[in-house]
Symmetry: C2
């Protein structure tokens, strides 16, 4: 394969997200998935969009770092949604999910993924940003989506690869895979150079 | 469902493309797939990008139209790639596929899908355009992709949802699903009003 030098590492993806598993698989590299305890997604108040995403990706990495051995390469990521100065993480309940999608409806928002790649003696952190435009969604569409897809594990309460992404997204600027949860073109680039 | 009025029709997708089947399924409507004889993708010389896509979508529809009965709704689509005035359809062989991707490498191109929705007494045709930026790909990446993925059924010789789309696409402006072969948000909008 084209990033054969990566074979010297055992790649570990620390993520519960089936989308991230699928996306990393798409690069054609072998890796193992590990999941630890949930890290509370809390960050200092003074951080902004990209800093938050990097902070959270590194926070997730940090809990695994002590156990990393010299043959391993750890990948973590965190995706947030930013709209008019508000950061949307995962919705806490149905009302919150509906509120989030109502906020996004008819508006542009940014999706920011922070990625951290960490071996014993090297660390790279970076972000990728995409802009997403939702068409104006009606209440029936929003509640139908929330009740059928239960997007409680997703920042901003939607999955771009689900029904709502099919019917409601007019336009993306940037990487679509970043909106799904992992900017694979950037991961590939960084792994090539790692 | 939200486009229940469409249920009065039996929806038929006339396409061999598994991507289009998947994309239309994502809208949550029931449909049947039919395939006829291959229509040669030939168009008049004086047509431009969007006209070509509409012309070819309607051409595909026309071969089924005589058999359409009053309860049926026929959907056809055609996707083309346009770069620096050249229109790329499906590559004819390996050399042609490699040539096409070399053309796209490091450049922006347009992906244009024409869609035709046809019932016995109504016809709508429309296009959707996305801009796609490929990073600079090296020869090894291009030939590896062509030999492993054999993209001979794809306009421009690539699938955005395949390995090359993961590693090589820096940026999309517009609908990602349009690049895959069907602008589902536009199809949904038109079916709502049909």
């Amino acid at each position: 394969m084209l990033i054969d030098h990566i074979r010297k590492y055992k790649v570990i993806l620390a993520s519960r997200s089936p989308r991230r598993h699928q996306l990393l698989s798409g690069l054609g590299i072998d890796f193992e998935v590990i999941v630890g305890n949930d890290v509370p997604e809390v960050y200092p108040d003074n951080l902004h969009d990209e800093e938050i995403a990097i902070f959270l990706a590194e926070l997730k990495a940090r809990s695994f770092k002590p156990e990393l051995d010299s043959g391993q390469l750890l990948i973590t990521a965190d995706t947030i949604v930013s709209i008019n100065g508000e950061i949307l993480g995962k919705p806490v309940d149905r009302t919150d999910a509906v509120r989030m999608i109502e906020l996004l409806s008819g508006q542009m928002h940014k999706v920011i993924t922070g990625v951290c790649i960490w071996s014993v003696n090297k660390k790279i952190s970076f972000t990728d940003i995409s802009s997403v435009w939702f068409s104006r969604l009606d209440e029936e569409e929003i509640t139908w989506y929330v009740d059928h897809y239960k997007p409680y594990d997703k920042a901003g309460a939607y999955g771009v690869q689900e029904w709502i992404g099919y019917i409601g997204i007019d336009r993306v600027e940037g990487s679509f895979f970043n909106v799904m949860g992992l900017p694979v073109h950037r991961v590939y680039e960084e792994l090539k150079k790692f």
